[in-house]
């Protein structure tokens, strides 16, 4: 018996030495942000994928606030997790020249055929695949159809209809009613939408790496925002500040249906629908367009990517875990729609019929709409900060639309110049 056991041990050692045995068990780390449901789903997925591939994956998770600061500090010290969830607009911050993370095309184990070329391009920096898009998201119009029904006005399908509906809603229900909402980044994206619809161009021209719009084109978009305030469709920035800059979904006016629409991420439908009082219905609707629009101006992008640390000692194991999370049944089932509708084709097919139909509908609207490719610089901290601050100056009457447009374009070009 002793001889048999010793022989088995020796044989095992020999096989292991030759690399013929089962994969070596590595201890990996993965970091992400999210809410409770995402944390639970991801931990379950990591357990399932870890068991399947013979590795242990330790989760490091927080809420969104502070995640960027934590990740930045870790990246600076080279101590980031092996697998990192990265917000798509952060890719230029961490991997300006495509060397911030491991090149995912060089790692075996990830079935890249499950993503479209556009998705893979979106996750690349200077042509190097730095992150795998987990899901795609975009801004979509949500309307409280109950409010419009109560006012006897059809739900708007164009900006002109929205502007025409506003006085009717106010006349029927009261001056405290607003047909729409646009503050901070939503205001920025609304101006972006207007100009994109008019010109067919996104904020940044990828060819020249400069702002694609002329000051006149942008000024028209800013004036449009002003018109929404003047007509009473949305609250002014001053009103929003007076009320304490409360998030839309936390406002009693939203819950009561007194604010009847907004332009939000498709995946956030539940966040906005859940606070509504009983009997109110929130529906995603097709893109509102301006007269003479050359495109729907859809603002869609990968919501986040999974990257692998270039400092990881277990890059191949990490690649297998990433593939399992996104392409294999164990990972797909456990993750579900905790990160929105999956970008991976096999995951999308497997989850069909299991996701909230309103989220599916909202996502379908975003994906069906036309629009230029969105540059991650749209959400660069300095670009966004300059855009929002300038809109605030315009809203408070400090500058006119033309000066505001020039200020936004100059500020954005200054940032873009640093990345040339």
């Amino acid at each position: 018996m002793k001889i048999t056991a010793s022989a088995a041990l020796l044989a095992g050692a020999a096989i292991a030495t030759l690399g013929l045995g089962p994969a070596r068990a590595d201890e990996l780390r993965m970091s992400w942000w999210g809410g409770d449901s995402r944390h639970v789903a991801t931990q379950a997925a990591l357990k399932a994928c870890g068991d399947k591939h013979g590795h242990t994956v330790k989760g490091e998770f927080t809420g969104f606030d502070g995640y960027l600061e934590k990740l930045t500090t870790q990246m600076a010290g080279g101590t980031e997790a092996d697998i990192v969830q990265v917000n798509w607009p952060w890719l230029p911050l961490f991997s300006r020249d495509g060397t911030g993370f491991a090149d995912l095309r060089q790692l075996p184990g990830i079935d890249l055929g499950q993503w479209s070329d556009a998705d893979l391009d979106a996750g690349s920096m200077k042509g190097v695949l730095q992150g795998i898009p987990v899901s795609n998201t975009g801004r979509v119009f949500f309307f409280n159809t109950t409010t419009f029904e109560r006012a006897g006005v059809p739900v708007p399908t164009s900006w002109d209809e929205l502007l025409a509906a506003t006085p009717k809603v106010k006349a029927a229900l009261g001056d405290d009613y607003y047909t729409f909402n646009a503050v901070k980044e939503t205001a920025q994206l609304l101006v972006t939408l207007f100009v994109t619809q008019k010109t067919g161009k996104g904020l940044v021209d990828p060819e020249t790496n400069q702002v694609a719009w002329t000051p006149e084109e942008l000024a028209e978009g800013i004036d449009f925002l002003g018109k929404l305030v003047e007509t009473g469709a949305i609250k002014s920035q001053k009103q929003e500040a007076s009320e304490g800059n409360v998030n839309l979904f936390e406002k009693p006016q939203w819950a009561e249906g007194e604010i009847a629409g907004s332009y939000e991420w498709d995946s956030t439908w539940s966040k906005y629908a859940d606070p509504l009082k009983e009997g109110q219905k929130l529906e995603p609707v097709p893109m509102l367009t301006v007269e003479g629009a050359v495109t729907d101006g859809a603002y869609r992008k990968p919501s986040m990517v999974f990257s692998i640390s270039k400092n990881s000692k277990h890059q191949e194991a990490a690649a297998r875990i990433v593939n399992c999370l996104l392409n294999e049944p164990e990972g797909i089932d456990a993750l579900g729609d905790s990160r929105g509708l999956p970008a991976s084709k096999v995951a999308a097919a497997r989850l069909e019929g299991r996701i909230d139909p309103e989220i599916v509908k909202a996502n379908a609207i975003v994906m069906a709409a036309s629009g230029p490719v969105i540059s991650p610089f749209n959400e660069h901290t300095e670009v966004r900060g300059n855009f929002i601050d300038t809109l605030e100056e315009y809203a408070y009457g400090q500058i006119d639309a033309m000066d505001a447009a020039e200020q936004i374009i100059d500020g954005t070009n200054d940032v873009l110049a640093e990345y040339e």
């Binding site: 960027l68 600061e69 911050l93 001053k238 007076s242 304490g244 408070y396």
Partner: protein, 293 residues
């Protein structure tokens, strides 16, 4: 004797190590970084005085933020000290339930710096919040606490003043240590309460006023939570204090070198104002037994 010395050093070691590792090294490192361009992702690049030149010659946000910060400090510190002294003087009387009142007035200081209180403040001073409801009850019109750039800083100042407890406790202790025979002598001489306060209480409190002044000034220059949570520095950067600017440059825009330069300018301002306070203290602070007095 030797073993006692070793024990003393052993007790000191954790503090000294903590001070060196978590305060002195970052302190010196930030001075070095202030002369560099550093985005955390690549090695710091020496740029000499570029950050400071940009700060003083081209950065409108810095000047706006500095003005707002100085205004905030010059509003907050005197208001808070006056209020703390006023409450301490009342709580120095032998009233019924005095211990309850002393505790109650101290509580805001424990809660005041918290995120929850900052959020609460946002609701109280919102356009339809408690503050405007109260004004409405007494027939006064609503005030635009946050929407009007002229009012927003004052609203943030109120939050800081509300946390007067720690200064109040120090004042209260100082008031109780004043020799009662001085008051008796003054009363026998026919001095009024006002005269007693200005001729006896206030001069004897000046060392404590001086201490509170320095502490409150340093804290006010470092205020972050209130404006960050309540107004996010707005509207129109009316509450954009320098610590907010440093935070955004460092952790949102990854301009660590530039943020370090702003932090050092803030440090120099605090140091200069503290030195001015120390210099001026020779003229107005009274130390019992001091040869100068």
């Amino acid at each position: 004797m030797k073993s006692q010395r070793a024990l003393g050093l052993a007790y000191l070691t954790p503090y000294v190590v903590g001070l060196l590792v978590f305060t002195m090294i970052p302190f010196v490192a930030s001075l070095y970084l202030s002369f560099t361009k550093y985005d955390l992702m690549s090695a710091p690049k020496w740029v000499g005085f570029d950050n400071f030149v940009k700060l003083f010659t081209r950065d409108r946000t810095f000047w706006k933020s500095l003005n707002v910060t100085l205004l905030y400090v010059f509003l907050t510190v005197p208001l808070k000290l006056a209020f703390a002294l006023f409450i301490a003087a009342i709580l120095n009387y032998r009233l019924r339930f005095i211990n309850f009142f002393r505790t109650a007035f101290y509580v805001p200081s424990i809660l005041g710096g918290s995120i929850a209180i900052a959020v609460l403040w946002r609701y109280i001073f919102a356009s339809e919040g408690l503050a405007n409801m109260a004004l409405d009850l007494v027939g006064l019109g609503p005030v635009d606490w946050f929407g009007d750039p002229g009012n927003a800083l004052f609203t943030i100042t109120l939050l800081r003043c509300w946390q007067f407890g720690s200064a109040m406790v120090i004042f209260l202790a100082a008031l109780q240590s004043i020799d009662k025979s001085l008051y008796e002598a003054a009363r026998i001489d026919g001095a009024s309460q006002t005269r007693i306060f200005f001729a006896i209480t206030l001069p004897l409190l000046t060392p404590v006023i001086f201490f509170n002044l320095i502490m409150q000034m340093v804290q006010a220059f470092q205020e972050f939570n209130g404006p960050y949570i309540i107004t996010q520095g707005g509207p129109l950067k009316a509450t954009y204090l320098l610590p907010l600017y440093i935070y955004e440059e460092a952790f949102k825009k990854f301009n660590m070198g530039y943020a370090s330069a702003i932090a050092w300018v803030l440090f120099v301002i605090i140091t200069v104002l503290t030195l001015v306070a120390f210099w001026s203290s020779k003229k107005w602070v009274y130390y019992a037994g001091d040869k100068r007095s």
